[in-house]
């Protein structure tokens, strides 16, 4: 065990000290910031001009006040209606993009959760204008009806109108968030499996090509050698992720603290905040760690076995690893189906069977546990993944032991499987 640890240490340190590790670790957060910034920029660009019907029961929102406001800012206009649009016309044909029903308000409290009903989804850049208009009318109204003193100013500061956007065409607005996170998590696992899996393969090939393999196996068991490599590279992947999570956490908190002073950045942070407010973040992170490691062990050991069996030839490695890579890609295909229908049989079985579960289950979990993913499915999937990677590690160990000392022979999967199941 001590020797395995020495191997893990070497595999880890040589990789973490490499320039490519430092660069890729730094580059990702930069891309992340660029992405967030880009999202804010696009939100600003895609700001739409809305025509909104206001059905006022309070009597505060007079036609004059609204028209005055429309003249100040023509980007979105409010129209005062006495009734809700007819039921038959509650869609785009009504001529309005949405409507707000204002109940009889107490002017000293305002209303923090007026509902802005829309027929389509609009970004906060667009709905923000409507909210701002309502608030300006409200403030002017308060100004008019109050003799301002300190106490009254305090009331004014506390009393404002908040707007919650509700898409009545699609009651499950949260499912879009879940879908987004599901895709993101699934693809992240996919990239980890391919990138770090092939790193294991290349590492094993390097040992074989350098002819150091026989030197090492005269000191440690081949299995320790393989395990040390897989665990070492797994630790590298984990390190990179921890750095990123810390980074995201810091940026996010700085974003919150800096508040509105950063313009669209704050809006983007707000968006992220709303998004993660609707899902169980600790659960997703915990499951992510599990499926990422489980999937990594499952695939990395297979890639390691291939690395041990091939010679210097990269093409040979590619053709042998093709079936494995296909399994990963197939998982992505299943994931796409799972996101579309997270409780369908394809999604359920795809998230239970070990080869696809790391990707497919990660896409389903954001929809909710135990709502969409019953606990028995999660438990079964985890147990099978553990059993699965124990098997592939054992299987790969047998191939590795024979392959690592074999030179000059082109190997097929059939032969590799025979190595695994013969004695010695």
């Amino acid at each position: 065990m001590k020797k395995t640890w020495i191997i893990i240490e070497r595999e880890y340190l040589t990789r973490v000290r490499k320039k490519t590790f430092v660069i890729s670790t730094l580059l990702f957060p930069l891309l992340y910031v660029a992405l967030i910034g880009g999202m804010g920029f696009i939100a600003e660009k895609s700001k739409e001009t809305l025509t909104v019907a206001v059905i006022d029961s309070s009597g505060y929102f007079t036609k004059e006040a609204i028209e005055a406001e429309n003249q100040v800012d023509p980007s979105s206009s409010l129209v005062l209606l006495s009734n809700a649009p007819e039921q038959s016309k509650q869609d785009e044909e009504s001529g309005y993009d949405g409507y707000i029903e204002i109940p009889s308000l107490n002017w000293q409290q305002g209303n923090d959760s007026l509902v802005f009903k829309t027929y389509k989804s609009y970004g906060s850049a667009s709905t923000g204008v409507v909210e701002a208009k309502l608030n300006r009318i409200w403030r002017r109204l308060l100004n008019d009806s109050l003799q301002l003193d300190m106490r009254k100013q305090m009331i004014m500061a506390q009393s404002k109108i908040g707007l919650v956007t509700k898409n009545i065409s699609d009651e499950q607005a949260n499912s879009a968030t879940a879908e987004g996170i599901g895709y993101f998590a699934g693809f992240l696992v996919y990239f980890i499996l391919l990138i770090y899996g092939s790193q294991v393969m290349m590492g094993v090939m390097e040992e074989k090509t350098n002819r150091i393999a026989e030197v090492i196996v005269s000191s440690v068991r081949p299995f320790q050698m393989m395990l040390g490599k897989i665990l070492g590279i797994g630790a590298v992947a984990l390190t990179q992720f921890l750095i990123w999570i810390v980074f995201v956490f810091v940026v996010y908190n700085v974003g919150i603290k800096s508040g509105t002073s950063m313009g669209f950045m704050a809006e983007a942070v707000g968006g992220v905040q709303r998004m993660i407010g609707s899902v169980n973040v600790p659960l997703i992170l915990g499951c992510f760690a599990f499926y990422f490691l489980g999937g990594f062990f499952f695939y990395a050991s297979l890639y390691g076995a291939i690395g041990s069996a091939v010679n210097e030839d990269m093409r040979e490695a590619q053709s042998l690893s093709f079936p494995i890579t296909m399994l990963v890609i197939l998982s992505i295909a299943i994931m796409t189906a799972a996101v579309a229908n997270p409780t369908g049989p394809v999604a359920v079985w795809g998230s239970i069977i070990p080869f696809s579960s790391p990707i497919v289950m990660m896409a389903r979990i954001p929809y909710g546990v135990p709502g969409t993913v019953p606990l028995w499915q999660l438990g079964l999937s985890m147990a099978l993944l553990i059993a699965g990677f124990l098997f592939t590690v054992w299987f790969a160990g047998k191939i590795y032991r024979t392959g690592i000392l074999m030179y000059g022979k082109k190997v097929t999967w059939k032969e590799m499987i025979r190595w695994a199941f013969t004695k010695g």
Binding site: I7, E206, I212
Partner: protein, 315 residues
Amino acid sequence: MQPTTMDSILSLKHLRKHFESQKAVDDISLEIERGQIFGLLGPNGAGKTTLIRMITGIFYPDQGDIFFEGKKFDPLVDVAKIGYMPEERGLYKKMKVGEQALYLAQLKGLSRQAAKQKIENWFGRFGMESWWDKKVEDLSKGMGQKLQFVTTVLHDPSLIILDEPFSGLDPVNSNLIKDEIFRLAQEGSTIIFSTHRMEQVEEICNHIALVNKGQKILDGTVQAVKQQYKQHQYSVSGEGLNKLSMNQAPFTVVSQKDNTLIIQIAAQHNSSTVLRFLLEQNVEISAFHELLPSLNDIFIQLVGNTPTARTFEKI
């Protein structure tokens, strides 16, 4: 330090190792004594590497037993006392020389501090002190071989197995390594030396075994083996050799050059009868000595008709 006590450090009893349809090692027994420099010889594909891999714990024998230092061989423990330099050898190219040596020593069970001290010792002995921070890929082939040798013997193994240790070395470095091999044997280490280069074997080894087709076909001291395979040829120098009457001579002439004859003594005769015959012919002998076959001759005689890459016998 016990240079030549006659106890056995390694004892192989009827080892067998079969691969799929190949008998790589087919019932080989060997005794190797402490302090010996043991030559393990054989053509390519004879089963030497498989045999060595069993001794180093890389392969488990299918049948037979290995005893190391008098006890049953336990690969997990005993590998710490064995240093193995395989024929297919190399190092991590991107690693620094010092770290590389530290890593391999730690895998043999040395602590970091102990390893560091020993490495500094060896680097000093070989004039490699300035190499510590060099990358392995920047070393010449010969330098790499020296480093490889150091990493093999670093942990003071009692059994050192060297497979073609001189390949890639210039004569100066060959001699350096050769001297180290003698010194290590003097200090009580046992060395198994595997090579195709018979002149090196004659120079270095005191005991040899020849393996062919997975079986041991020869085993003994270098002198004994040469005696066993001698051709009864002698070299005679002297005046009057060109006027010899070969009637009833107890030998035939193999070759002649100036005043020297190479002769083959006929069966049922010996050197005394030859000398008596020569004296009777009034030859004035200036030199007379037996020609022993070189190991190379014996090797070729014994395995010469084996194709170099043998096709393994089907089980």
